[in-house]
């Protein structure tokens, strides 16, 4: 045993997790949707044995990291997976303990202690991923595993008493239509702006004189807050749709998906055009010279050399654009474009906290998933190992 800890990050995170866990409410129990609930601490919520077991495993992680000369990071990662896996189970356990048959409308709200634990476990997994040099795909795998476990427990009915689940149960239909409209808007915006952006980038490549004004205009658009741009599009679009009944037939109106999609495309163009431009120009001239010198045709130079070398940067542009579009689509719910933002703003309007979470959580998950997928894709196409 030595006094100076070997790894200081993990013990600090563990101490913070323990402090949050024991000081904040783990869950709250409400008799129905309206009345304020009563808060339960960790012990009251899951019982002494569970509380001590959980804290014990956490403390063990901290001690192993701090005081073993070569911390067994693999073991720590396994313990971390265990801690993550017990999260949905603990919620199911709380339901089992506290919601009885006669309290038909009673519901379990997730408390700050639980969220804090989830957050700190997330930080721990990031730290451990770097220590074990786990591939990013590994982290994604752990995340997906946790998600699947949670969905499995929910499917078996274990999470039925959760307020979040109750909110979901009462609007299943809306949930799936929100999912489709959110994904649809994001995909349409990214797809269209990828096509438009590629064309614009090639145009700028051909006529460099227009670069300054094009990029200037796009970055001015990027600066305008989303709420403002959505708002500014309402009046002209409703005017257009009043003038041209054909547009109205296609569902183009002042509010709804039309202004949302227009604004999303306008926002998406800048990162796409910038990344395509940078990517195509960043290829070293000597490589292109060599390719011509070897006797490649212009087509071959473009498809075998220029494009593959540019692809990772272009994918990075698509990643940024997709993340931005996921967030902006949430705001677009304010102008009636649908998507998960609808739940957020409904929840805010009704002061229904669980409804807000029901809207925000899928958005966070979509963002994380898109980020991981595009990062992995870019890494795959980069292919070249670090020198």
């Amino acid at each position: 045993m030595r006094l100076r800890p070997v790894n200081r990050v993990i013990p600090v995170l563990v101490l913070m997790a323990l402090a949050l866990l024991w000081s904040l409410d783990f869950v709250s129990i409400q008799a129905n949707r309206i009345v304020p609930g009563s808060s339960l601490g960790l012990v009251a919520a899951v019982g002494m044995r569970w509380a001590l077991g959980l804290s014990g495993v956490l403390a063990l992680c901290g001690l192993l990291a701090a005081y073993v000369r070569r911390p067994p990071y693999g073991v720590l990662l396994a313990l971390l997976c265990l801690l993550l896996a017990q999260l949905p189970l603990s919620l199911a356990w709380v339901g089992e303990q506290h919601i009885t048959a006669e309290l038909a409308h009673a519901r379990v709200g997730i408390g700050a202690g639980f969220w804090g634990l989830l957050f700190l476990l997330g930080l721990l997994s990031i730290e451990l991923q770097q220590r074990v040099r786990l591939h990013r795909a590994g982290l994604l795998g752990i995340g997906l595993g946790l998600l699947l476990l949670t969905l499995g427990v929910a499917h078996l009915g274990g999470l039925e008493p959760l307020a979040l689940m109750r909110e979901y149960q009462s609007r299943r239909q809306q949930f799936s239509s929100a999912l489709y409209s959110h994904l649809g808007l994001v995909a349409a915006a990214v797809g269209v702006s990828l096509l438009l952006g590629a064309g614009l980038a090639l145009l700028i490549n051909r006529f460099p004189a227009i670069q300054r004004s094009c990029m200037g205009l796009l970055s001015v658009i990027q600066t305008i807050p989303s709420l403002a741009l959505f708002g500014l599009l309402i009046a002209p679009l409703s005017y257009l749709s009043a003038q041209f009944p054909l547009l109205q037939q296609f569902g183009v109106r002042g509010i709804g998906w039309a202004p949302a999609l227009l604004a999303l495309i306008a926002y998406s163009l800048l990162p796409i055009v910038r990344n395509i431009g940078v990517a195509l120009q960043a290829v070293e001239p000597s490589v292109i010279d060599a390719a011509h010198g070897m006797g490649m045709s212009p087509r071959q130079v473009f498809f075998q050399v220029r494009l593959p070398l540019a692809l990772p940067v272009i994918i990075e542009g698509v990643r940024v654009t997709t993340l931005q579009a996921i967030g902006l689509t949430a705001v677009a719910a304010l102008i009636g474009a649908g998507g998960f933002g609808t739940f957020i703003f409904q929840g805010l309007g009704q002061a229904a906290m669980d409804l807000i979470v029901l809207g925000a959580l899928p958005i966070l998950l979509m963002a994380l998933l898109a980020d991981s997928l595009f990062s992995l894709l870019a890494a795959h196409y980069r292919g070249v190992p670090a020198p």
Binding site: L123, Q130, P225, G231, I234, A235, I344
Partner: protein, 251 residues
């Protein structure tokens, strides 16, 4: 002052002029807005003055920016000192993963945690605004050529002198760029803060959307857009006067 000096101020002054003109002049344009909403009872948003909303919006963003700069730059400095280096990988990962979360989701989640009003809005703005600043500060401090730091130490500077006289000035351009991103996002997010009870320039838009009054929406949107462009062009002006990234790379 030379002509070229004034050139740099052209855009900020133009946007600022338009912003002030709109703030005080919009109520004068009643006839114009009547054309957008012929049927509405009132066409000029009047629950609060535009200038009051502008000031509140600015104060909110400025307070969040100050806190975010202090937190972000402070954290970056701490984790780049020898005694805090253990936390460097975690901090840089959090800065980049955190930015994948949409700001509106962070804002929404502040409500269950802190309730409605200005405080949760401020909290969300700081929390989200820290990330770009932290990320850029780390990049800026990390991007300084080791030879420069070696030279500074070799000339007998103390660690604090190295930080204040060499590291921070050289990283300043990148840090300001991060602050610009942060503030741009926060002006937009603060507008959405209207939905959780903070009084900002988003109020006319939300009110217009709820009541189906496009004139309100246009008024709010114009003001927010002009505010964003004014602040952004000011940042650009400041950035142009700082040592560019080239200075950092070349040392």
């Amino acid at each position: 002052m030379t002509a070229s000096h004034w050139q740099g101020w052209r855009w900020p002054l133009l946007w600022l002029g338009l912003l002030l003109a709109a703030t005080f002049g919009l109520p004068q344009l009643e006839a114009g807005f009547r054309a957008i909403e012929p049927g509405a009872r009132a066409v000029i948003y009047s629950q609060a003055s535009f200038s009051g909303l502008l000031v509140k919006h600015l104060l909110l963003v400025a307070a969040a920016a100050c806190a975010a700069v202090a937190l972000g730059v402070g954290t970056a400095i701490m984790v780049s000192r020898p005694w805090g280096r253990d936390f460097l990988p975690l901090a840089s990962q959090v800065a980049s993963i955190g930015q994948t979360f949409p700001p509106v989701a962070v804002l929404a989640l502040a409500v269950p945690a802190l309730g409605f009003g200005v405080l949760p809005t401020l909290f969300a703005l700081v929390l989200y605004g820290v990330l770009p600043i932290l990320r850029n500060s780390l990049a800026g401090l990390h991007g300084i050529a080791p030879a420069v730091l070696e030279a500074a130490r070799g000339m007998g500077m103390s660690p604090w002198q190295v930080l204040w006289q060499v590291e921070l000035p050289l990283a300043s351009a990148v840090i300001v760029a991060g602050s610009r991103t942060s503030v741009t996002i926060n002006i937009a997010t603060a507008a959405i803060g209207s939905t959780i009870g903070a009084s900002t320039l988003g109020d006319p838009i939300i009110s217009g959307l709820v009541n189906g009054n496009s004139a309100y929406v246009v008024q709010g949107a114009l003001l927010i857009g002009l505010l964003a462009l004014t602040v952004d062009s000011l940042f650009e002006r400041v950035q142009n006067r700082l040592p560019g990234p080239a200075a950092v790379a070349l040392g």
